[in-house]
């Protein structure tokens, strides 16, 4: 039960600022979520705080690899590749 940070992360520290469990850490390879600390913000009705503030699509995923903020969900910029993927 923990979220993960992907290569899409731009290292902006926003998730680290808002994580109530202090679960986000900066390792040599980049930002990551310490598994045993993250409880996916279960007690917060608004859901994972990192996912709520992260400005980058696909940077945070659940344990199934699904992006909390999928392509197109934040910027509103039309995602050509996304459209193609959906119509396939």
């Amino acid at each position: 039960m923990a979220l993960s940070i992907t290569q899409a992360c731009i290292g902006c520290f926003a998730c680290k600022e808002v994580c109530p469990k202090n679960a986000v850490t900066v390792a040599e390879q980049g930002f990551m979520i310490v598994e045993h600390r993250c409880d996916e913000c279960r007690s917060n009705t608004n859901g994972p705080q990192c996912g709520q503030i992260c400005p980058v699509e696909t940077a945070i995923t659940d344990n199934q690899g699904r992006a909390l903020n999928p392509p197109g969900s934040l910027s509103g910029i039309p995602q050509k590749s996304h459209v193609i993927a959906m119509t396939k």
């Binding site: 902006c12 926003a14 600022e17 202090n22 859901g47 709520q52 910027s75 910029i77």
Partner: protein, 446 residues
Amino acid sequence: MKLDKMTDGKQPDSSQLKADTQAALVATHPCFSKEGHQYARIHLPVAPACNIQCNYCNRKFDCSNETRPGVVSKLLSPAMAARRFVKVKQHVPETKVVGIAGPGDPLANPKATIASLKAIAAADPDVHLCISTNGLALIEHLDKLLEVGVKHLTITINCIDAEIGKNIYPWVYFNQQRLRGRAAAQALIDQQLLGLEAAINAGMLVKVNTVLIPGINDHHIESLAIELGRYGAFIHNIMPLISDPAHGTYFGLMGQREPSSEMLGAAREKAGQSMQQMTHCQQCRADAVGKLGQDIDINSLENVEPALPPHIRVAVASKSNLLVDQHFGYATEFQHYLITENSIQAEANFSWQQYCGGDEQCNDDKANRDLNQLAHFDLLLCSRIGLAPRQELEDLGLQVDTHYALRDISDALRQIQQQMQSEQSNQHHLLVANAANAGCGGKECS
């Protein structure tokens, strides 16, 4: 709600600031007064996170509220920021103003912002501290800002109508959730106006930045300026939208046009009837240094041999007094060393209240010691340390190193000194490389 409150006949309340204090605040600040040009300012990039998204911003780059997009500045820790300030001040003694403007929003990074401001105020009590914010978290942090001595504030307010705002801000993180559309814009505008009012009442000199976006807020500039005037904002800085598609912003990619200089002039003229206009803004980058319009190349500065040799203050946790062999949580004192390029000097031990029992995980709730007391160190050597105190120390700008666990202290110090010597030359290369990439638009607003 906010707007209702404004219609009850509230008068601008600038009398709250004694005229002469205000004049002094204005005269030496290069952004608030044209005469302030002879004084220099430095922007310190310590605040990467942001709590909103603006359509003219690509978060891969610096905050474009106060900065020109296109350059990712090297992030500084609070301790590094204070050191950079001291270094710049040595070379440019006219440096009177220190601003924190990003690269995200200073108040979305309150710990780093406040720690930096404190460290700078300690280094030079006469310096003007200012921050530029989107205003969302201003109310929440205003007391802290006043406490550390911030007297100049810039808030970017692009509109006071949520119908307009929803086309500028795709989302706002407020009350632990990402708001979108009208609700997002309304939350932001409410908080901005609350913050504006409170800051002015507290005696701060408030500049308001507005990004002029043709077809979106250009028709609204006049009524915005009237409201700002009623609140008692000090000066208004209307900045042209920069929407070069190469910056990858929403506006840039969607073909939103930039205002012509005639449009900008017209907007300033209309707004000028209710708000003093600022016409000398250069839209500086979050890491700008120097006098307006003649930025000093920070890279060349960093390469110059500083008057004081660079130094590292090291705290060592040691049981045996010979080896780096103590868990941070057990330490009741730290050995204290000052390392410069050609000396390693032992200073008086630093006594300390034990942080915790030193369990493996160093629980958060046990973390009740004030780690701020350690903030004057640059580097902490210990055998182990819990994740929570490590992070907190790093937020304070301390580097924590456990690689020297069980090694001889004097060996460790010597190795750090060697690293420091080679870093000096490495940093040189890195900064030169960065400078070569720093191709910001170079667009000026007047």
